[in-house]
Symmetry: C2
Subunit: 238 residues, 2 copies
DNA sequence: ACAAAAGTGTTGTACGTACACCCATGA
DNA sequence: TCATGGGTGTACGTACAACACTTTTGT
């Protein structure tokens, strides 16, 4: 599913009087807010350096190359602009209102999950991480797009195991619960959460424990036989 | 949500070495199979009269005009090719694999529901209705697209009231149950179905009854305060 | 009267929620 | 020993599936 090397040169864009196809991605990850003890959902945005909405923050993206599939374009453009390689990538929606940009642009938007261990230390120039719940005014219709992506994320966390796309290989039940709590924006009962996820068959207990504070917590792994998310007959193709 | 008059002339397409954007629609409706007493899901397909896959059956669609929104393009192209005006229209997915067509085409695909009373008597030339469960080999990747649309329909019928998009204004609970049974492909308990749908708050009982066979059945209407389908922050825009 | 569909009642199981309680560790 | 999070037990309410049963019509 992941990225490949970017092609050396890109095909010239068609004349501006034609519809052009762009690809953008809403990338979600979790960050522990320094002061408090809660996690928050954050997304990386790119400061625009060109004419439409120059200086404003926008979703990472770029033009679709004529020789690459949609998902490949999403992987490539987000890697080029942010240097990131998410663990999960799924198409969100195609946005194509006539007035969403000065020239006619249809944007195929993807959304992605980034594991905590995939976040690089030094950030790329012109990229900044924002609390998804408290965004500034973004370029184009990107506020609307992020809202929709958040809605999809919250929905999907309820009926699939995508939350695992935000965690490293081994984790405690408290880690997993924190992910759910950050996405859903409410506290969950530890006892009930444990039983739910244990009965779902998606977790494999290891014989390792995480120590350091109070009683050690058992570490779990994901059962790779269970799909991360049910995408129906489409197995992740375009 | 519905169609408008088609523009008199369409902008010339960009040169064939650029990516073009097409819009197609999977239109679902129900038909009572003549012999038996069951309903089946049927979709209209158009016979291709041009080069790629000429003679094969394909989804109704056409090129996106540079001056129209995506949903408007879906409404227009399906009206032009089939003469239909569905009661419900929602974006399905953007298909853009490089090899899905001889030239590079990104298809924004919609899916639609047509009420029984919206089906015209005489069918347009080159349009034929097919049982969705028994399709021939279609042009391009359209078999795959229909499979995905069917999956979405079956999913969505479980957590929204879209089934109502397939019925006339007034209907009996048996009518509604038939819709669910046709979509889900299994029989439902009339008693439990009644309670479920009654408690959902989406139905308004009228004081009219349908007579004709056995005990008369009460007619119901939809509560228009309840959305047909939850589309999140997107209220049906593109 | 009888068949058949409309509509009601009852029961059991599964599952989510609330919350009391015990366990194991660091300090 | 105490505070804290890990982990177990239990009781209650809702939702759904199964199915027996009553009601109302056409024939």
């Amino acid at each position: 599913m992941m990225t490949r090397t970017a092609p050396a040169q890109r095909a010239a864009h068609p004349s501006a009087d034609a519809t052009r196809v762009a690809v953008s991605t809403v990338i979600f990850t979790l960050r522990r807010v320094p002061a408090g003890d809660v996690m928050q959902v954050v997304i990386p945005l790119v400061r625009r350096t060109r004419d439409p909405h120059e200086g404003q923050w926008a979703l990472p993206g770029g033009w679709l190359d004529i020789t690459e599939d949609l998902e490949a374009a999403a992987s490539r453009t987000l890697a080029e602009t942010t240097g990131l390689a998410p663990s999960y990538l799924e198409q969100l929606y195609a946005f194509g209102a006539v007035d969403r940009s000065p020239t006619r642009v249809v944007s195929i938007v993807y959304w992605a999950l980034l594991r905590a261990d995939e976040i690089p230390d030094e950030t790329v120039e012109n990229v900044r991480w924002f609390d998804a719940a408290d965004l500034p005014r973004l370029a184009f219709d990107h506020n609307e797009i992020v809202d929709y992506a958040l809605w999809r994320l919250r929905n999907k966390v309820g009926y699939s195991r995508i939350a695992h796309g935000l965690l490293a290989d081994e984790f405690t039940l408290a880690d997993l619960r924190e992910v759910y709590e950050a996405i859903l924006g409410r506290r969950l009962d530890p006892a009930n959460f444990r039983r739910q996820v244990e009965n779902s068959g998606t977790l494999i207990p290891t014989d390792r424990f995480r120590t350091g504070s109070h009683r050690p917590a058992r570490l779990y792994r994901y059962n790779k036989d269970v799909e991360l998310a049910d995408r129906g007959p489409l197995g992740g193709r375009d």
